[in-house]
């Protein structure tokens, strides 16, 4: 589904990704861990198509197509979803209206008719129940005055609405208390099937107790320096990142 080959990217003059290789197949859950500043968020933004980052070398292949030249919205239309670490406040646009616009623009790009209002309401009801979101919440302005936990839950609600092929969850666990963490993880797990994939980007192992990865990768200094199974996450939790840095710098 996603194949990243020798990816180099920079912002302004600073090289941040320095040769990433990663393959994600349908049905898989990958975790990308690493110390602060290792390039985790950059990697997720580059996959989602943030324009400030310049890809200087390598390829991002999604469903067999090089997506490097595609705009962020075109990538979204192909089924890539990024859950933001810091969701942006959009005053004056309600959660519901934002989702209507996002879904209908995606459908338009896919050559489909707009979703009938009745179906839209049903979908909203179904997905808001999945994330245990109060209906009143949906008429509020997007992310405006939301708590950290509400913002993250809302991100996963949007993911549930859009049903992406590939969901990248960037530090979704930060700012969540344990109950909210469980609700969010439960939502992600229920949406998971053999045709889609999840990439969880996290600093801590905590979320991975709930969303269990098939593969864990350690990012350091713009490269994946170690890959393994879910036990690698436990090892990192116990030992921290220093040994990784030492190994990488050796």
């Amino acid at each position: 589904m996603l194949k990243i080959e020798n990816l180099h990217a920079r912002v302004e003059d600073k090289a941040i990704l320095r040769g990433i290789n990663l393959e994600v197949k349908p049905g898989e859950v990958h975790a990308i861990m690493g110390p602060n500043g290792s390039g985790k968020s950059t990697l997720s933004s580059v996959i989602a198509g943030k324009e400030e980052y310049e890809v200087t070398d390598g390829n991002i292949i999604f469903d067999g197509e090089d997506i490097d030249e595609l705009a962020a919205e075109e990538r979204a239309h192909k089924g890539i979803f990024l859950s933001f670490q810091y969701p942006v406040e959009i005053p004056g646009v309600s959660v519901t209206n934002f989702m209507k616009t996002a879904i209908n623009e995606t459908r338009k790009a896919q050559g489909l008719e707009e979703m009938p209002a009745k179906d839209m309401l049903k979908l909203i009801r179904e997905k808001s129940e999945l994330l245990e979101i109060d209906r009143k919440f949906l008429s509020r302005s997007l992310n405006e005055g939301f708590s950290g936990g509400e913002k993250k839950r809302n991100e996963i609600f949007q993911m549930a609405m859009l049903e992406p092929k590939l969901a990248i969850l960037d530090e979704t666990d930060s700012g969540l208390d344990i109950d909210a963490l469980r609700i969010v993880a439960n939502g992600v797990n229920k949406l998971k099937n053999e045709n889609n994939a999840v990439v969880v980007i996290t600093h801590y192992q905590r979320l991975l107790d709930y969303i269990v990865p098939d593969f864990v990768h350690v990012l350091y200094d713009g490269r994946i320096v170690k890959s393994g199974g879910k036990e690698l996450a436990h090892e990192l939790e116990e030992k921290g990142y220093d040994w990784i840095k030492e190994e990488a710098n050796a």
């Binding site: 933004s45 989602a48 198509g49 943030k50 324009e51 400030e52 705009a71 962020a72 919205e73 990538r75 979204a76 239309h77 979803f81 990024l82 933001f84 969701p87 942006v88 406040e89 959009i90 005053p91 004056g92 646009v93 209206n97 934002f98 209507k100 616009t101 996002a102 879904i103 209908n104 623009e105 995606t106 790009a109 302005s141 949007q158 859009l162």
Partner: protein
């Protein structure tokens, strides 16, 4: 002959032609002298520093356009808020169109200024209110000197006017260039409530200059909501002078939506003559090309325990220029005043300009006054966020700009106006907002 000379030389003939009440005659004559002395404002005047009238004054305007009452409602329907029942006072090239209007004398007067100025039964109202709140600046004086037609609205006490009143001025381009000077007088007595929508619309590309004066009196506990829709074509310029005199516990609001026109200057003045008054001034400006919109506001807090809320948003593209000059005066007696002012702007193009200037003169010591102005570009992180959810760049921009102006729309009380404005904003921004408001 330049425009001032033309106006000066035609004044006597005009005065002789219209019906004259002695009182009105004196008011006009005095006003004429002021204009004759002051002339048109120039950029040397502090209040006109960023707005030059040169390009609009050089046209050879016809001051008294010939009338041609040939408009059919179906052809101009789109300029009305037509999906609600309303009173209508409609003018074509400055002359009243009974055909397009729907006026009333049933328990209140929704009719014509020409009638009010000439008929004895209105004499008392005219003497009490006409030109009583309008100031003596040169453009207002010019309008006063030539005032003969416009809307006259008098709502007696304890009356809630259910239907909004639409005042629409059409210009047909009958003349190569037309100057219009409508004069409106609106008196709302104790405990009464009225909603008014005003629009100026040119139907051809021929240049039009409108110098309009509206006097509004919101008496004790009255509620007046006024909406100005400024979406005229590129050769039409508007100088709107609006004066609102509020008595105690009255609420008055003016929403100004400026999307069109060549040059638009809004001189909006609120005078609070009583306690516990609430004044609201809001505006959305979205312009491009070489359009120019200037909001020049004044809120004069004279007595204690009053509030004013000002919120103006501007979006400027291409070579458009905007001005916001917001003056708030809080007199020494006006303790416990709450005065808020905000002016936020987005410049889409590198060549667009906004000059924004808050001006606070506070002589009382126990007041809450705030002001803030911002000038920025569209938030890049918000753009990426929306695009990552599948919303294309153009729609994302539109949605962000819609969101930006939404604060101002939230206080619009008539849903049909809100919908219409939302549509105008969407059209102006070239996007389909994709949902109903």
């Amino acid at each position: 002959m330049d425009l001032k000379d033309k106006l000066v030389s035609s004044f006597l003939a005009f005065e002789n032609r219209v019906d004259n009440d002695a009182y009105v005659h004196d008011v006009r004559t005095d006003a004429f002298k002021i204009f004759e002395e002051k002339g048109f404002p120039t950029k040397k005047d502090e209040a006109w520093k960023y707005t030059s009238l040169n390009s609009v004054l050089k046209q050879d305007y016809s001051l008294f356009p010939k009338q041609e009452d040939a408009l059919e409602y179906r052809d101009v329907k789109k300029y009305f808020i037509h999906d609600i029942d309303s009173y209508k006072i409609v003018f074509i090239d400055g002359k009243y169109s009974s055909h397009l209007s729907q006026t009333t004398h049933d328990g209140m007067d929704v009719c014509l200024m020409s009638a009010a100025l000439s008929k004895p039964k209105y004499q008392l109202v005219i003497q009490n209110y006409f030109n009583k709140v309008a100031t003596t600046d040169s453009l207002t004086s010019l309008n006063t000197a030539f005032s003969s037609e416009g809307a006259f609205i008098h709502i007696p006490k304890n009356k809630i006017v259910e239907k909004p009143i639409q005042i629409v001025h059409f210009s047909t381009g009958n003349e190569a260039a037309t100057m219009l000077q409508p004069r409106n007088l609106i008196v709302v007595d104790e405990n009464s409530h009225v909603q008014i929508i005003e629009r100026h619309q040119s139907l051809t590309e021929n240049p039009v200059l409108t110098n309009s004066v509206t006097e509004i009196f919101a008496n004790k506990r009255a509620i007046v909501d006024y909406y100005k829709i400024q979406n005229d074509n590129h050769n039409a310029s508007l100088i709107d002078n609006t004066f609102i005199n509020q008595k105690r516990e009255s609420h008055a609001s003016v929403h100004t939506f400026s999307f069109g026109g060549k040059l638009t200057r809004n001189n909006l003045n609120f005078f609070q003559n009583g306690e516990r008054i609430d004044s609201t001034l809001k505006g959305v400006t979205i312009i491009g090309d070489k359009q120019h919109v200037d909001h020049n506001t004044l809120v004069h807090h004279i007595e204690p325990n009053c509030e004013s809320h000002q919120d103006y948003k501007g979006i400027f593209d291409d070579n458009a220029t905007g001005v916001f000059n917001g003056k708030v005066i809080v007199e020494k007696e006006a303790q416990k005043t709450n005065a808020f002012q905000a002016n936020n702007n987005i410049l889409i193009s590198d060549k667009a300009t906004i000059n924004t200037k808050p001006q606070l003169e506070i002589f009382a010591d126990d007041v809450k006054c705030s002001h803030g102005c911002t000038i920025g570009q569209l938030d890049e992180s918000a753009m990426f966020y929306m695009r990552s959810r599948g919303i294309p760049e153009k729609e994302a921009k539109g949605l962000l700009m819609y969101a930006f102006s939404n604060n101002v729309l939230s206080s619009v009380k008539i849903p049909e106006i809100k919908q219409r404005i939302t549509k105008l904003i969407a059209n102006k921004l070239g996007v389909n907002i994709g949902f109903e408001v």
